[in-house]
């Protein structure tokens, strides 16, 4: 193991660190910046942006589950125009390499959002969120088959300029991972993001996602499946799901991920991702999950 991590290439981008902050776990960005400069990370994925503003779901949105967090936020966001006017410049100003997470109710709406971002400076990449666990309540597409993934990815990839790659965030449900990954790659995604929230229900019966250490072994398998399916295509895998310490990140990288995302770990320790960057750089891989 080399003593330093000399940057990473993913989806054609050169990232200084193999660690990204995951969508929806960095607030507006400003809150995360209180604990470490946003330039600490390879990239910061914004909260998911839709064409129009969304108020998000009613409470409870986030609940504890053993070694995990259940979440059904309904994707609260200020909408494309307000995001580009306020949050995006603030993220850039704070030193972030910005990946904008987007979702839409239809392929046409996805095209509109991505086209808007394509005209905006400061966007390093777009992450198309195709696996909102509360997609129906949030009113966004979450395709169940390869054809649906292909249609959605095409709607986004077709309007991005060269140099702004598309990442497709796919459901980590094992039966579909390989098919969805190949469909995304075939439709123009430069990378797939795999391993996030597992489908679950809140106690009140609303669909939700389960994230955190509880899903880490499932994330590992989903990343391995996606990496196997995409071997030789040149399309990268971004791994996420319960990454807390360097050993978790190493496991995902070893399973075929080019970089990892940190999400729910930030919610119990907002300094965890910055420590992960330091530990990966130093070649340390503490496995005690502190």
């Amino acid at each position: 193991m080399s003593p330093t991590t000399p940057g990473t290439r993913v989806a054609g981008l050169h990232l200084a660190e193999p660690v990204m902050l995951a969508a929806g776990c960095a607030g507006t960005g400003r809150e995360a910046a209180a604990y470490a400069p946003l330039s600490t990370y390879g990239a910061v994925v914004s909260r998911t942006i839709t064409l129009d503003a969304r108020a998000g779901s009613r409470a409870p949105r986030v609940l504890e589950s053993p070694a995990g967090l259940l979440h059904a936020t309904g994707l609260p966001n200020p909408g494309l125009t307000a995001f580009c006017a306020t949050e995006l410049p603030a993220l850039v100003q704070a030193g972030a390499r910005v990946v904008v997470s987007v979702a839409g109710a239809t392929p046409e709406e996805i095209t509109q959002v991505v086209r808007g971002l394509a005209r905006t400076s400061g966007v390093s990449a777009v992450e198309l969120h195709l696996c909102a666990p509360d997609a129906a309540e949030a009113g966004v597409l979450a395709p169940r088959d390869g054809a649906g993934v292909s249609e959605a990815v095409s709607a986004a990839a077709g309007v991005l300029p060269p140099g702004v790659p598309l990442l497709a965030k796919l459901a980590p449900v094992l039966a579909g991972v390989a098919e969805h990954a190949r469909a995304a790659a075939g439709a123009g995604a430069a990378a797939v993001v795999v391993g996030g929230a597992q489908p679950a229900l809140l106690p009140d019966g609303r669909p939700a996602g389960l994230s955190g250490p509880a899903v880490r072994p499932q994330a590992l398998r989903a990343v391995h499946a996606a990496a196997t399916a995409l071997a030789g295509t040149g399309v990268d895998v971004v791994g996420c799901g319960g990454v807390t310490v360097a050993a978790d990140a190493r496991a995902l990288l070893d399973a075929g991920a080019a970089v990892v995302q940190v999400g729910s770990a930030l919610l119990s320790d907002p300094t965890s991702a910055a420590r992960l960057v330091t530990d990966l750089r130093a070649g340390r891989a503490p496995d005690d999950h502190t």
Binding site: A59, A67, S268
Partner: protein
């Protein structure tokens, strides 16, 4: 100094106070940034053995020099669920992973020396004593209403008697003070004290009553919300509170990042009460 810090704090003491446990922490950098109404997000469980990942929000009760520590920080824990029971059992020498002080908006102090009514319910009265001191420093007369279901859940008013011009105590079972829900006493207290501002921390129904009574009386209200804040830091977007913006437009704010103290007339209380599907304790703890 601005902004919260994340650190492992040493427990300097843990002592019982009625139903509550008061924990005093050595937390360098936290006390220096404290303002009344700010809170700590605290992790539950030993590092490496953690399975409860939502953080518990605890009001900062007191900041003072202690022993060799320039500032120590005290919090009060009401043990209502597994997480808060674990926290309440911490003792001297234990360590707690904390983030704080948190809160985008804390209690706003009046610019003029106006009369104030300060209302605290149960463990949520914790941030109000420091507030009362700040108000007195500004020559604002303080009238304190402390409420609880019973004496065990009532914070001691002893220290507040030095600061407050009047102290009213109300319990639901009548074990101490007036036997009445706090909300029932508000109109009369507002009339008697001529309060221009009401500060309150407690359950959502009480805060709603405070906002309503203040409005009827022509007073401002500053309500400290006690809804669960899973991360406390503004990162998870998981603590929605329905509000009305200055422009009159309905919005959804985050309790932790845009609150926890909001003007009572800015909260859409009916939507908030309707949205609550389960009993809450305000510490992020589900009952049971």
């Amino acid at each position: 100094m601005h902004g919260p810090v994340h650190l492992t704090a040493e427990v300097l003491s843990g002592s019982r106070s009625g139903a509550f446990t008061q924990l005093t922490l050595a937390a360098p950098g936290v006390g220096e940034r404290f303002r009344p109404g700010s809170f700590l997000a605290v992790s539950v469980g030993e590092p490496g053995e953690r399975t409860r990942l939502a953080r518990r929000a605890l009001w900062i009760h007191q900041v003072r020099p202690l022993g060799g520590h320039a500032t120590s920080v005290s919090v009060l824990v009401d043990p209502v669920g597994p997480g808060t029971r674990w926290l309440a059992s911490r003792a001297r020498g234990d360590r707690l992973e904390i983030t704080g002080p948190l809160g985008g908006r804390v209690f706003a102090l009046p610019k003029e020396p106006v009369s104030t009514l300060v209302v605290g319910e149960g463990v949520h009265a914790a941030p109000l004593f420091a507030l009362a001191e700040r108000l007195r420093e500004r020559d604002c007369p303080v009238h304190l209403l402390l409420a609880a279901p019973d004496e065990a859940h009532l914070l001691s008013a002893l220290e507040a008697r030095r600061t407050a011009r009047s102290v009213t105590v109300a319990t639901l079972d009548g074990s101490v003070g007036t036997r009445a829900p706090a909300a029932d006493l508000l109109p009369d207290l507002l009339r008697r004290t001529g309060a221009a501002v009401v500060y309150a921390a407690g359950s959502t129904p009480l805060l709603h009553a405070v906002a309503r009574a203040a409005e009827d009386h022509g007073a401002w209200s500053q309500t400290a919300l006690t809804l669960p804040t899973p991360c406390g830091t503004g990162l998870c977007l998981g603590c929605p509170v329905p509000v009305v913006g200055e422009d009159g437009v309905a919005r959804t704010a985050r309790v932790c990042a845009e609150g926890p103290v909001l003007r009572g007339d800015r909260v859409r209380w009916d939507d908030l009460v309707g949205a609550e599907s389960a009993p809450r304790t305000g510490t992020g703890e589900e009952r049971g």
